[in-house]
Structures are given as structure tokens and as C-alpha cells.
């Protein structure tokens, strides 16, 4: 057995600049998807609790469809379906085009999970809060925005952290949407050096550098922002 290959970390060191730029791609996708999925997920949740039946049904349909479709399919639909077949191009530069298509696919997918977490959060807000909001003359949208949602968000910061961690790890799937990031680089390095243990470890540690702080941050935020009743 060739132990040298198993313990040889030099491929990682030799490609450190590529590694950094590849992980930078994951970070850019994660941050963009994080913001967009929170916004979209909040809108979907608002639809699901709205007094208008059509909106409620549409919201439920959205969540059930996206949550139960594999991410790979969603992303393939964005890259092959939207871009190649339907010629829907966000930009003429391929790298920018595929970045935004990947972001689009991941955001609509992650938003379904954000929406489910938030709906659970709304269920933790006592009925009396909504009644008091209506009683002082706030409209439905105002009550939701100023009284219900802020409390719902605070209740689900920690679970939202889990959604975000899953989302960061899911960025490895965007290689099916033709966008180059860490997982794509790992695949290339396997072809060049063989699938060695150090390369696995290197990429695993790379992802933990992104996900562990995310988890700590959301847990800290959850404690800090908790609503005392």
C-alpha cells in the first residue's frame, strides 16, 4: 500500500489559489441564496397565513412542490431547461449566467424550507398578539409585518440556522448547473491526483469553515433575540 499518497497533502498546497477561488464561489452563492431565500420564504409564509384562499393554496402548492423535488432536478431545470432549451439568459457571459441560474434554483428550493420554519414560528406566537394588533387598528399586513413576523422570526432563528447550513452544503450541487465551485474543483483534483484521503479531508474542512461559524452565529443570535413571554 502506498501510504505516501494517502497522507500527501501537497496537492492541496499546490492548488491553494484555486481552492480559495473555488470556495469563494460557494461563499458568494451561499450569501446571495441566503438573502433571496429569506425574502422569498417570508413572502410564501405571508401567503400561507393570508385571509385570501387563493394565496394560501398557492403558497401551500409552492412549498409542497419545491420541498419534495430533488435539488438536482431544480438546478438542472434552471440550467438545461431555462437556459439551454428555453434560451432564458440572465447574462451573455456564461459564468455570470450560470451563477444567477444556480442562485435562482437554490433560492426557490431553499425558500420552501425557510417558509416551513417560519410557519412553525408563527404557530408559537399566541393568538392574543394578533388580536391586540387588530384591536389597535393595524391592518392584516401591518399586524403580520410589525407584530407576528418579528416574533415568529425570533422563535425560529436556530432552525433557520440549520436550513442555512444545509443550503451551504447544497451549493456543491450547483456543479450540475454548470457553475464552477469547490465540488467541481474536487472532482478535477480527483482526476488529476486520484481520490486521495487528504483531498477529501481538505474539502471537508473547507466546508466546516463555512458551516460551523454559521451554526454558532445562528445559535448566538437565537439566544440574543429570544422573546421572553
Amino acid at each position: 500500500m502506498n501510504w505516501n499518497v494517502l497522507l500527501d497533502f501537497s496537492p492541496l498546497a499546490d492548488n491553494s489559489d484555486k481552492l480559495l477561488s473555488a470556495f469563494w464561489a460557494n461563499i458568494r452563492i451561499s450569501v446571495t441564496v441566503g438573502i433571496l431565500s429569506l425574502v422569498l420564504g417570508t413572502l410564501i409564509t405571508a401567503m400561507r397565513v393570508s385571509p385570501v384562499r387563493v394565496l394560501r393554496v398557492a403558497g401551500a402548492f409552492y412549498v409542497n412542490t419545491l420541498r419534495n423535488t430533488p435539488l438536482t432536478l431544480v438546478l438542472l431545470f434552471c440550467s438545461l431547461g431555462l437556459s439551454d432549451t428555453l434560451k432564458f439568459r440572465i447574462s451573455h457571459t456564461p459564468s455570470i449566467n450560470f451563477f444567477w441560474l444556480a442562485v435562482l434554483g437554490m433560492s426557490v428550493y431553499t425558500a420552501a424550507f425557510v417558509a416551513e420554519s417560519l410557519r412553525a414560528g408563527i404557530n408559537t406566537v399566541p393568538m392574543g398578539q394578533a388580536e391586540a394588533a387588530r384591536a389597535i387598528g393595524l391592518t392584516f399586513t401591518q399586524s403580520l409585518r410589525m407584530v407576528i413576523m418579528p416574533q415568529a422570526f425570533r422563535a425560529v432563528i436556530a432552525p433557520l440556522g440549520s436550513v442555512m447550513i444545509a443550503m451551504i452544503k447544497n451549493t456543491t450541487v450547483v456543479l450540475v448547473a454548470s457553475y464552477y465551485e469547490a465540488a467541481s474543483l474536487m472532482k478535477d483534483m480527483f482526476e488529476q491526483y486520484g481520490a486521495t484521503l487528504p483531498i477529501f479531508i481538505g474539502f471537508a474542512v473547507g466546508f466546516m469553515c463555512l458551516t460551523l461559524p454559521t451554526g454558532f452565529f445562528f445559535n448566538w443570535l437565537a439566544k440574543r433575540m429570544a422573546v421572553v413571554r
Binding site: G137, L138, R154
Partner: protein
């Protein structure tokens, strides 16, 4: 206190009807919770609604600002029928103050923010002016020093007084109190009742669902006795407590007044 009440009685006779319920009916499924309710509340009048639990008192109170929609009849406030839903209903609710049994202060906002939210967002008041007025109201209910705290940091009595200030900040035409002291420790009941007694003395139109007979005696112009979804008796407090007309009311009073 009594002087205030007498002065108000003179006023009340001059004030026109403010809240008028006509033939109001409500069902929860098969359960008929409000049966043909007719009730008129005049400007400046303090109406106390008493009766056994499950008799429809709270439901009646909550129909007046349509937290509970009704299935039949009409409710008019200041001559206008209650709007169905949407902006018009929100506007109307802004004119009707409500105080809940469980306070329902916004848990993520400070006491001051609780009181200023409505004036700023609904009445479009200037923030500084709203805060100034909120502090005056908090001063009036005796908790100005708690303004920067969150609801969970206050005692029940303080929370309920803050909730009264929040409702008053909207300058309501009428105040609804849905069992405001039922969730309080006994030693905190008085501080809340004192605020309500003062409010009544200042001429506020009030509908109060309560078990506090002392408050009814001190401040009410009219006592409405409800049982099984019906108004069984409408009377002056003096008459009602000493010489109730209906047997149902006599039975109820004998159970609560003998202890």
C-alpha cells in the same frame, strides 16, 4: 368617586347612543352563544356585563370591534354599521379601545413602543409627539418608570395598566374591557380597578365584562346580566344588587355575594 358618577349620570342622559346592538345572534357550530341581543350604550356610559361563565359575556364584548364576527343582526358604532373586513374595519377598530384578560402586550416591544405603535402606524402621528403622549398616559396609569422595559419584566398589574395606556393612546370613542382583572393576582386587582374607576370618572364610555362587583357598584351606570347567551336583565347597579328582578340573577348573586 360617587360625585364623579353622579356628574356623569347627568352627562349620560344628554349623550346619544354610541354603540347599538340590534338582534345580534352568533353561533359556534350548533352552539347558540348570543341570542337576539339588543343593547344600547350611550356616550359617557359605563356598562358592566356580569353573569356566569360561558354565558356569552366575552363573546358579546368581542363582537363590538368584530374580533368575533356575528351571524345575524346589526351593530352600529356612532351611527355607522360595522364594516365587514379590510381597511374600513381597521379604521373602526382604531376608535374602539380593547383591554384583554391576558393583557396581550406585544412581547417583542418595550412598554413605550407598545403604546406608540398604534398612534404612529395607524394615526400617522409624529414619533416624538406620540412618545410624549405615551409618557403622559404611562404617568397617568402609574408606570412611567417602566417605559423602557419589556412586558415580561413587569408584573401582571403593571402589564394590564400598560395595556390600558396602549388602548387610550388611540383616543378611542369607547373602551372594551374583557375580564381585565381575571388573570391578576389578588393584590394587583386594585391598581387596575383604580385606573378604570378614574377613567370612568373622566367620562369615558366603557363596556366592562367583569366579576368585580365592587367596580360595578362604584362606577357602573348600568348592569347587564347575561346567562345562556341572553341578556336576562338590564338594571341600575343599585337596583340590581339589592333587588334584582329576575330569578336567574337572584340565584347568581346569592352564590357570589354570600362569601
Amino acid at each position: 368617586m360617587t360625585d364623579g358618577k353622579e356628574a356623569r349620570e347627568a352627562e349620560v342622559s344628554g349623550g346619544g347612543p354610541l354603540v347599538v346592538l340590534e338582534n345580534v345572534n352568533k353561533f359556534y357550530g350548533d352552539h347558540h352563544v348570543l341570542k337576539d341581543i339588543d343593547l344600547t350604550i350611550h356616550r359617557g356610559e359605563v356598562v358592566v356585563v356580569i353573569g356566569p361563565s360561558g354565558g356569552g359575556k366575552s363573546t358579546l364584548c368581542r363582537t363590538i370591534n368584530r374580533l368575533e364576527p356575528i351571524d345575524g343582526g346589526t351593530i352600529r358604532i356612532d351611527g355607522k354599521p360595522l364594516p365587514e373586513e379590510g381597511k374600513a374595519l381597521a379604521q373602526l377598530r382604531a376608535d374602539v379601545g380593547m383591554v384583554f384578560q391576558s393583557f396581550n402586550l406585544f412581547a417583542h416591544k418595550t412598554i413605550l413602543q407598545n403604546v406608540t405603535l398604534g398612534p404612529i402606524k395607524v394615526r400617522k402621528a409624529d414619533k416624538t409627539e406620540a412618545e410624549q403622549r405615551a409618557m403622559e398616559l404611562l404617568e397617568r396609569v402609574g408606570i412611567a418608570s417602566q417605559a423602557e422595559k419589556y412586558p415580561a419584566q413587569l408584573s401582571g398589574g403593571q402589564q394590564q395598566r400598560a395595556a390600558i395606556a396602549r388602548a387610550l393612546a388611540m383616543r378611542p370613542k369607547v373602551m372594551l374591557f374583557d375580564e381585565p382583572t381575571s388573570a391578576l393576582d389578588p393584590e394587583m386587582v386594585k391598581e387596575v380597578l383604580d385606573v378604570m374607576i378614574n377613567l370612568a370618572a373622566e367620562g369615558m364610555t366603557m363596556v366592562v365584562v367583569t366579576h368585580e362587583m365592587g367596580f360595578a357598584r362604584a362606577s357602573a351606570n348600568k348592569v347587564v346580566f347575561m346567562a345562556d347567551g341572553q341578556i336576562v336583565e338590564e338594571n341600575t347597579p343599585g337596583e340590581f344588587f339589592t333587588n334584582a328582578r329576575s330569578d336567574r340573577a337572584k340565584d347568581f348573586l346569592s352564590k357570589i355575594l354570600t362569601h
